[in-house]
Subunit: 103 residues, 2 copies
Amino acid sequence: MPANKTVSSKRAAVIKALAHPSRLLIAEALMDGEMCVCDLKDLVGADMSTVSKHLSLMRQAGVLVSDKRGLNIYYRLACDCLGDFLRCLDLLAPKKATTKPCC
Amino acid sequence: MPANKTVSSKRAAVIKALAHPSRLLIAEALMDGEMCVCDLKDLVGADMSTVSKHLSLMRQAGVLVSDKRGLNIYYRLACDCLGDFLRCLDLLAPKKATTKPCC
DNA sequence: CAACTATTTGGCTACTTAGCCAAGTAACCA
DNA sequence: TGGTTACTTGGCTAAGTAGCCAAATAGTTG
């Protein structure tokens, strides 16, 4: 595999970890600070097992880090730069197949 | 659907458009300027129909814009902010399930 | 207009992913 | 120790996605 393709694959894995409405919602919520799985479950509104799988996928990708304290496991963002990331998205998100650049 | 979930869905659609090695490779290549489908086909090394489907998905998501000139269709990024986006990725990509933040 | 080139679209198959339920693990408390 | 709470894992099914091939479309050139 060519070098540039390997790099793209690694990067794509990180992006993939955010490319799902529930996972992105989780990432956005964690911008305000850490949360435990049961809080995230309420936020997302899915089965706890489903949320847990999303979280472990995000942790694997390096997007989140976790921290066990007592019975709870707290998750937080591994990187602050996610804010810029999301601001960039908002420039693109409202546009649909236009013919001129957004910025 | 709650408002924050709707927003996350729209954003996730944009992220999804970049969450594939070939599509990311395309986006990275287009940071240096527009390219036509046949050049992108060579870059990705897949069937032209496959590349074309990736491109239309990215255009739908608002990530790319296209421009037909003669027989060729040229694609370019809809937004310059993708550079910051990718730089953020590189901070995360090399890390795997560590317990401390990368930045 | 016919042949040619560039690109898109439709159709199909193989693979991946999301979500739920049920069962397993691990820390805490009576 | 036995029950309870918090979370993860395994197993399954349904839905979505990627990729190829073949056919269709659209602009170009002789």
